[in-house]
Symmetry: C2
Subunit: 515 residues, 2 copies
């Protein structure tokens, strides 16, 4: 075997050939957004929103639909009438809970190279999560199922720009809800080596997923409780309600130092006031209530401030995404999160029904709000369509290209003698060309971001090639990535322990449902 | 006639019905970008780029292909060998010309309501300019002609978000170049009441357009020379060349206080170094050389710093737009312009061949670079495709929607008691709905931006409606706007004087060409 034929080299060759068809791939690394977040609220306005939230929490209060939660909050100083679900908070109590949660959180993946940090200028991207439908231009639009669910996992594992598995790429509705969390989490662990999400849909489901994560990471119980390895999105049921399963999720997750991403779904004009200031005040009140409860459960439990405020079409009531209002609240949400020194979550969302210009501009506007607003965690970063009702394979790949472009935008411009190229400019001189210079030759391979989707050929060449649009190219790419997918290594003993756990829990009926 | 039937009311009704099909329309106003520009270069790096430009101007110099220009520069202190076109500048000389051009420029339109300011945080948008081809999904792609040229003028006049006419929406190639500028400018004045662009394609063409503009605005010669009413883009022929017609353009425009937008076309890897720092140093050297010449011609002449640096596909040499590199140089270009206290020009560009996701994400990324980079003047803001080789009617309308969204993004969030809606939140309470509240009813008509293109219907309703994509909607809209177009009023005497001028100049043969 010649030196050139080592397995590593062969693997690299294979990888290079694969990349020719599927486009470039970002390296595995912790992304840092170098840009200072922009601001849309003045200091005074920010304070007014904060004060309004305190007033809402004091005078109106929030329904906590779990007696255990009401009891714990009452003990911690909240005002709860006997037998009531309504919890009110004195402003001093609220203020006393700000600053307990960590400013930076490290989320551990089973592959340590895939662990990532949240907070400061760190930014991480997760795949689309939870749509009931899935589509591609080969088989059309269909209900979520475990085959497509697995394919989204494969794509999410393949692309390094996807930092974490934010949930089910599409709901595997062919798996019964009593066992869905077991089978889906088993797949998370087998198909990917990234950190992932646990749906808070009842205490036992959280406990099952926490246990599976402990097994996957090869930790004992104490280690599991000291390392954040799992995240859950807690949606308040706006306005001003936290449901039983969400509160159970906070209890099981926060008590074990697992990550809670509290995201009020405050649609201005529907579940929130039609004014952006009012919608933000409501979002903020709900986020602070959630923050307090996590810190009551365990002081110092990791917490992410989630912003998801958007507007609705006032004629139809349909939610809208990637709108100017969405961008504004994404930026304002970041200011609120930073006021509380909390990591900030935003999203890459659109309302489009087709993978067309609308899906692209709404998505990039969403990313604009998220990135310039200083988001640390961007959910639904690849594949989201139809306001979350559908996941698209083609949109997934187009979004990946856009995220990789942002990662390239984040790389600083190097400025030194070599890069300023004064000598080369002098050599080339007026009217010359830089193409053939040594300066260019030494750099041309990786000077610029090489896109997956963008077609830069001239019109005639492009037309001769069959006039492929972005969707056509994305269709080819996602199929090729799926064909070339290889699962990440998993320790045999861990795999067996995991399988035994899942088999046992399925034999036990999983989590009983009434359907 | 009842009160309800006044002509004004009837006109408003007609307008409202028209708007139902063509979507909302931004009001006529001077847009202000409220966001502090982001920065990609540190202060030190910015200074290094500046110093590199000074070195290039001192050691390599620039070719000025017009003896008159060389003579004037030599008199002003530049180093020019006898009989040579090469002009070198001492750094002290360069520094002494910085700060002479105005920080804010008012550009006067023939309709004073359409005049606009450049500089500080003002931002203005112009239509796509100069593509040789035009396309729509009805008649396909074709060569530029005066019918399509006029239709772009109609669209550009109709949409208030288009501040100025940046050039020919598409080249009217069916008008001979000897008379094209006369007929096209005549149409600028008759089809629109906005300020517009004069191509610098030889001294006489500039003089003709300046005279037509004087007539259109009803000014005498002295007034015309004291009010900036016309703009010209001066492209340096990178690297380091300024062609004869461009220099003649500067002489005729700057001497009369008309606006020069100096834009080096520095494609990294082709006409500029492959490194972004090198491409920026070259761009900056060329911009400073142009600045100096305008100020030699007339100290205080209005000048805009243009940034157009992008990268090329290193395999094919094709230019790329809306790339991460493009965004980075757009942001850095803004920093350079502000260092010299000059208004900044950027663009809304893409390389896509189809009005698909690529055309949208590349465009929004371009706008991201422009807006967050602090651009005051955004050229090609609506309709640009194929790296500038084609103008698309559908893309024009989609871009208009995106620009209007940005204008809405720029509107501050109001924060006061009414807007914070604490009382309404208390009234609605946990689990309620805001749709039917008085607070919502009083605001629902214009609380949110109403898009022209974005389709927010759910999938089923959208599918029943025939699954229209963004392009389908844009096709309907541009046709309806064209059908409803009404030319702006023009004083009869001015129209006659203009027609006489154009007829006379055409009789004279316009500007003689050798073809």
């Amino acid at each position: 075997m010649s030196l050139d034929q080592t397995p590593r080299r062969r693997r690299r060759r294979k990888q290079e050939n694969h990349n020719k068809v599927t486009g470039c791939q970002a390296p595995v690394r912790q992304l840092v957004n170098p840009f200072r977040p922009i601001e849309i609220l003045s200091e005074d306005q920010l304070e007014s929103v904060h004060q309004a939230s305190l007033t809402i929490l004091r005078d109106t209060g929030i329904d906590f639909f779990l007696p255990e939660a009401c009891d714990r909050l009452k003990k911690a100083g909240a005002i709860v009438e006997p037998g009531s679900t309504r919890v009110r908070f004195d402003p001093h109590m609220v203020e006393s809970f700000i600053g307990l949660a960590p400013e930076v959180v490290e989320v551990h993946a089973r592959n340590p190279e895939r662990s990532f940090k949240l907070g400061e200028r760190y930014i991480s991207f997760g795949n689309v999560s939870s749509p009931p439908n899935v589509s591609d231009t080969i088989n059309g639009r269909r209900s979520g199922n475990h085959i497509d669910f697995r394919n989204f996992l494969r794509l999410s594992q393949y692309y390094n720009i996807i930092t974490f598995i934010g949930g089910y790429g599409v709901e595997p509705t062919d798996w019964h809800p009593s066992i869905r969390h077991l089978k889906a989490t088993q797949d998370f662990i087998k198909f990917t080596d990234k950190a992932y999400h646990a749906y808070s849909l009842g205490r036992q489901r959280n406990l099952d997923v926490i246990e599976m994560t402990r097994i996957a990471r090869g930790l004992d119980q104490a280690q599991m409780q000291s390392q954040t390895s799992l995240m859950t999105v807690i949606n308040s049921n706006s306005p001003l309600q936290l449901d039983k399963v969400m509160l159970e999720g906070i209890i099981e997750m926060s008590s074990r130092n697992q990550l809670v991403i509290l995201t009020p779904f405050t649609l201005a004009g529907a579940m929130a006031p039609i004014t952006l200031a009012g919608a933000l005040a409501l979002q903020n009140a709900e986020a602070l209530a959630g923050l307090i409860f996590t810190q009551v459960v365990k002081p110092g439990a990791p917490f992410v401030y989630g912003g998801f405020t958007s507007n609705v079409d006032m004629h139809s009531g349909s939610p809208a995404f990637g709108t100017p209002e969405y961008m504004k609240t994404a930026v304002a949400g970041g200011q609120l999160a930073r006021r509380y020194k909390l990591p900030y979550r935003s999203s890459n969302v659109c309302a489009a029904n087709a993978v067309d210009s609308q899906s692209a501009y709404e998505s990039v506007f969403s990313l604009w709000g998220a990135v310039m607003g200083g988001a640390n965690l961007v959910k639904h970063a690849a594949g989201w369509m139809e306001g979350g009702l559908c996941a698209s394979f083609e949109k997934f790949v187009i979004d990946i290209d856009n995220l990789q472009m942002l990662a390239s935008f984040f790389k600083p411009i190097r400025v030194d003698e070599d890069e300023l190229a004064i000598k080369t400019i002098a050599e080339v001189g007026p009217g010359g060309h830089f193409f053939a210079t040594e300066h260019t030759k030494a750099r041309y391979r990786d000077a610029f971001y090489a896109p997956i989707i963008s077609d830069w050929r001239n019109f005639e060449t492009w037309q001769e090639a069959g006039s492929p649009t972005a969707v056509d190219k994305a269709r080819d790419v996602f199929q090729q990535v799926l064909a070339g997918y290889e699962p990440p290594p998993l320790d045999q003993a861990i795999a067996e322990e995991l399988d035994e756990f899942v088999e046992r829990r399925i034999r036990e009926g999983g989590v009983k449902t009434d359907f």
